[in-house]
Amino acid sequence: MSISQMKDQELLTGLYRTHGGRVYARCFYLLRNKEEAQDALHEVFIKVHKNLAGFRNEASPLTWMTRIATNHCLNVLRAKRAPWHEKYKQEVDVGVAASVAGGGGAGFSLLENRELLRLCLAKVATTDGSLAELATYAFVDDMKQADICVLVGMSAPTLRKRLREFITICRAEIEAHVPGVVFAPAPI
C-alpha cells in the first residue's frame, strides 16, 4: 500500500465516521432491509473511493454522497419491480391503517407518514428514476429548491413542475390503496 493510498484510506475512514451513518440511513430508508442497506453503503463507498480526486474539492461531501446513495438505492428498487412492490404495498396498507387507527382520521401529512411517502417514491422509481430522485431531495431531505436545482443542474420552474408531477402520481397511488381517501392541502 502506498502512502498516497494510505492517505486515501484515512480520508475514506474519516468520511465513514462522519457521514456513514447518514448514508446508511438513506439506504435503509429506501430499501427497508438491513443487509441490502449495508450492501448499498458499501457500494457508495466504493464509488467514493473511485472518485476521490473529484471529491477533494467538494464543499459538501454529504450532498455528494447522498446523491450517490439515493441513485444507487432507487436503481435497486427499480430492478426489483413487481415482486418488491407487491410486498411493499402490503406494508404500506398496514402503515396507513395504523395511521388512521392512531388518530389519522383527523388527517395526517404525507410528509410525516414516511412509510406512505416511501411507497410513492418506490412507485415513481419504477418508471421515472430522476423524478424519484428529485422528490427524495425535496420531500425526504427537505432540501431547498435552490439547493436541488444546483445539485441536479435544473431550473427552478422545471423542478417545481416535476415535483408537482410527483404529487399527482402520489395522489393516484394512494387513492388506489385507500378507498375514500380525502386529500387536502397541508395546513399552514
Partner: protein, 274 residues
C-alpha cells in the same frame, strides 16, 4: 366503521420553501451534524436548536442514530494488498463487502473480551510503560486471546488489540515470511490517547486469513506525526523484509523494527498453516 383518512399533500411553492425551522432544512441540519457548515451558519443553527425543541429533538435523534451506526458497523479498511503480493489479508475486502454485520458482531464480542482479559503482548519496548499489542481469535460465538507464535488456518479471523502510549500517531505494519511488507493501519490518535493511554483497545479491522502459509509479524509503532511515522516504519519494515528474504532475519525472533527510541513499538507474530 373507520372513517377514510384525510391526507395532507405537500405544496410546491413558487418561491423557495422553508424547512423545519425558519430557513433550516432537514438536510442542512444533517450537514450541520456532519460538520460541513461554515462557522457563521453553525452559529445560526446553534441558536435555532436552543430555541426550537422540535428541531433539537430531530438533531438528537440523528446524532443518536449515527452513534449507533458506528457501534454496530465500525469502519473497516477499504484496501487490500496488491495482487503481486497475495496475503491472508486479501480476504479483508470481501469480508467488508459480504459480512459487515458479522464483522460488527465479532467486534462486539472482542470488545467484551478485551476489557475482561489481561494484556498478553509478547513484546514490549520501554518496560511496563511501553505499548503492547496482542490479538484475538474469533471462534464460533466468542473470541479468545491468541498467543505469540500461534498457528492459525485459512479462514481464521483475528483482531489486533493495542495498549497505547501517549503519542499522536500509530502505524500497524506486517512483514511476512517472504519478506513482503504491508501497512495495515495508520491513524492520528491525538486526543484519543489522552484518555485511553494505558488501556487496551481493539483496532477496528478484523482480519480473515487466506491460504498463504508461513510466519507473519505485526508491528505497532507510535510517533508524533502520521506522515513521518509512516515513512520511517515503511522504510524499516522493508529493511527487515529484505533481511528475511535473504535469510538474515527470523520473524520468530526479530521482534523489533530498526527504529530509534523516539518510536515506541511492540509486535506479535503468528504462523499461518494449511
Amino acid at each position: 366503521m373507520t372513517a377514510a383518512p384525510t391526507i395532507f399533500l405537500p405544496e410546491v411553492p413558487d418561491g423557495d420553501d422553508v424547512g423545519l425551522a425558519p430557513s433550516i432544512s432537514r438536510f442542512e441540519l444533517e450537514r450541520f451534524i456532519c460538520g460541513e457548515l461554515p462557522p457563521e451558519r453553525r452559529a445560526v443553527i446553534d441558536r435555532a436548536l436552543a430555541a426550537d425543541p422540535a428541531l433539537k429533538a430531530l438533531h438528537d435523534d440523528v446524532v443518536a442514530a449515527d452513534r449507533a451506526f458506528l457501534i454496530e458497523q465500525p469502519p473497516l479498511p477499504f484496501f487490500q494488498r496488491p495482487a503481486k503480493a497475495p496475503s491472508w489479508w486479501a480476504g479483508l475486502l470481501s469480508h467488508w463487502h459480504a459480512g459487515l454485520g458479522a464483522a460488527a458482531a465479532a467486534a462486539a464480542v472482542v470488545v467484551v473480551v478485551v476489557v475482561a482479559t489481561p494484556d498478553e503482548s509478547n513484546r514490549t519496548k520501554g518496560g511496563v510503560e511501553g505499548p503492547r499489542v496482542s490479538f484475538f481469535v474469533k471462534e464460533e460465538s466468542a473470541a479468545r486471546l491468541g498467543h505469540a507464535g500461534e498457528e492459525l488456518k485459512a479462514g481464521d479471523q483475528i483482531q489486533l488489540a493495542v495498549k497505547d502510549v501517549d503519542k499522536k500517531a500509530l502505524v500497524v505494519v506486517g512483514v511476512d515470511g517472504a519478506g513482503s511488507v504491508t501497512v495495515y493501519a495508520s491513524e492520528s490518535v491525538q486526543g484519543g490517547l489522552s484518555k485511553g493511554a494505558g488501556s487496551p483497545r481493539v483496532l477496528p479491522a478484523s482480519l480473515v486469513l487466506d491460504e498463504t502459509t508461513g510466519p507473519e509479524r505485526f508491528f505497532v509503532v507510535y510517533g508524533d506525526d502520521v506522515d513521518t511515522l509512516l515513512q520511517a516504519v515503511d522504510s524499516a519494515a522493508r529493511h527487515l523484509g529484505d533481511d528475511v528474504k535473504a535469510g538474515r532475519a527470523d520473524l520468530a525472533r526479530t521482534d523489533q523494527l530498526p527504529l530509534g527510541a523516539a518510536f515506541p513499538q511492540s509486535s506479535v507474530h503468528i504462523v499461518k498453516i494449511r
